[in-house]
Assembly symmetry: C2
Homo-oligomer: 457 residues x 2
Amino acid sequence: MTSVQQVLESSKRDHDRYLTEFREYLSIPSISTLSEHKQDVQRCAEWLANQLYGIGFKNVEVLATAGHPVVYGEWLNAPGKPTVLVYGHYDVQPVDPLNEWTSPPFEPSVRGDNIYARGASDMKGQGHAVLKALEAWLKSGGLPVNVKMFFEGEEEIGSRNLEPFVEKYKSKLKCDFVLNCDSHILKPDVPSLVYGLRGLGYFEVWVYGAKSDLHSGGFGGAVHNPAQVLCELIAGMHDANGHVTLPGFYDKVRVLSKEERVELARIPISDEAWQEMTGTKLLYGEKGFTTVERIGGRPTLEVNGFLSGFTGEGSKTVLPAKAMAKISMRLVPEQDNGAVENQLKEYLRKNAPQTVTWEVKNLTSAPAVLVDRNTPAMRAAASALQATFGVRPLFQLAGGSVPVVNMVKTRLGVDSVLLGFGLPDDNIHAPNERQHLPTYYRGIEAYIRFFYLVSQK
Amino acid sequence: MTSVQQVLESSKRDHDRYLTEFREYLSIPSISTLSEHKQDVQRCAEWLANQLYGIGFKNVEVLATAGHPVVYGEWLNAPGKPTVLVYGHYDVQPVDPLNEWTSPPFEPSVRGDNIYARGASDMKGQGHAVLKALEAWLKSGGLPVNVKMFFEGEEEIGSRNLEPFVEKYKSKLKCDFVLNCDSHILKPDVPSLVYGLRGLGYFEVWVYGAKSDLHSGGFGGAVHNPAQVLCELIAGMHDANGHVTLPGFYDKVRVLSKEERVELARIPISDEAWQEMTGTKLLYGEKGFTTVERIGGRPTLEVNGFLSGFTGEGSKTVLPAKAMAKISMRLVPEQDNGAVENQLKEYLRKNAPQTVTWEVKNLTSAPAVLVDRNTPAMRAAASALQATFGVRPLFQLAGGSVPVVNMVKTRLGVDSVLLGFGLPDDNIHAPNERQHLPTYYRGIEAYIRFFYLVSQK
């Protein structure tokens, strides 16, 4: 049997080739939310399948769903060893505002220690790192565990067709636990493991006034402006202390334990660092909680987008007929993600004036998730990080949502280990997304160690 | 000398030709606010100049300004008679949302009694009607008064280059009074004369948060969302009684006299009719005033447009870096249109949180205007309407802004008569703009009579 050390060393010699292939992966504009990119998403799935086949995986398939396909492949030649289901996604977010990108989002550009491209960090970087870790083992003779790869193409649109897929392919996906690579560490020298993820409720709220846009001179003052009404409704969704006012919003929110708050306080990111990272004058949030707690441990409500009336060049004196806001809530355990829609509607019923009509469209929904910090797989991940980075990893709560974690718990009955190598300042979902290359290479190293360590338990 | 009756009869025989030419005028997309239509605006000016030349006007010119040109022409062969400066504009508003038009905005379509096209009512209809009235007199031997035609191409963008133009061509534009055709009547059978116009202050307000768009999971809850902040700021701009809260906003507002309120109350449009016209569930406005007073006699503040974050298809979980609203105020005498910018900035200084920065861009500005109801020209207009419609016209305050009325008062020292033939439900500045054709023909008739009546004073 090849030693971990040999695999690590053989992998290091391939770094240049890894980067060339990573660039190729990043060049495919696999934007899942835009129908004009459907063919690109398909092409990306096929690219990934070819990679899997090339490194020695068997039964590689591009499996159809009601939306974008899932890429599957397996290597099951480690009898008696655990089976790891490696989860990832190959789809990416849209790129607008395009003019704020320094280099084109699908022409990967290395500047300093980073590679810039849409999806570099979320999560083609992690996805490619785990692929190369698997390749390194296979080039050295074989993997120390059984592995099933399972990459979806709809994570950025709420994994909306994944649940029926997992249900349908339950036996194919059977495993001992999931390695979920859609994650990050705190800093290049501060490795960390996520044990909680926020859930999501994402809505469009429409307010309708007049039957069509009106002249603001001829009608202004006598007709309620739906943009103004929607502003008033949104303004009322937070109180002066930054609490969300939707009725019942906090009823089931899990209280952070004292021990957790102490552990979270160890995370070495000061408010000044958060300010610098985001470029804000001053942080903001719910009174009574630290920044780290606000992001990981508390629910929020955000306006993701707002559109009404004339927004082009110049001054059109229009009184808009309608206004739309995209509003989403980040949810924490034990909030009921299904209940949020009712809370939002209840708020609107109570607060919308009689002068307008309104409508709520539910776009996506996912529950929050907590994972056990003491499973063998979680301990293996912690050890792999410690060996790679030289320090014990911190445990943290992440602010984002990874719906699949809950799905595999419910449908397959297994826990997830969230081990990924994005960084908080990678500009994910934003212009100039990037992946820190030294962290990407360390990620490959940590994944190589992880597959060995879980085989030893 | 030809009698008015002969001119009216000769004009009636030309109705079919008038409509053909009107369609031609409407087909030119002279959208002044969009730079890609610059050539169309120029083409429209030339079309108009050719028309003027064709009906017998002299010294017809397309005069350059810093923006779109002014069309000028004169007929000065009525010695001893007054000189009327006929004002109008040949530019139109943008057409978005385009998908709400039943027929394309620049392919005029007659349905029932109306012709549908952008600019049909605001104000190619009136402009064409006065042109045809002048033509009818000239075909019958000559006009009973001296006339100078003066049509600008920037009314829809606040007539921003007109003031230096009027100053430069002061002697060319010298006249006894202005006939301003950019106006309307209340209903097809309720003629009316506007004696007051609201002014305008039009601004863009920008709120800036993080340096770029952020992931709403990774940062939501810890960074102030500029869309939320802008909503809160806009929400605070009205109180529960519909009053505008900008500091000092009402300080100089002219109080409506008892006599005026009685005259305004005669306007036969019920709140139910306003609701039906606009397609709203319920009207809205400043407590203590009727709908007609709210529109003509009271200042307002409107959101004309709002844009922030992701507004495309699907659910992008972004925390926007910035938010923009187009906000305009309709002003009444004696509000200072220059002071409104300071009031807005003062409000933002007092109310914007320290977590964001903001910026105000002043796009256009115009003072409100009141005209004397008892000048000879105003009485001639009232008589022309009474003779054409068979009833005495009502006096009304209009909600829109016609900056040129104030400009000719200040620069040329003359009053304006606002005589135009739009209708309140013509969908101006909105999809499916239209002109009521029977009213357009009556407009031609009223203008023919008006030119005769002012020659008799």
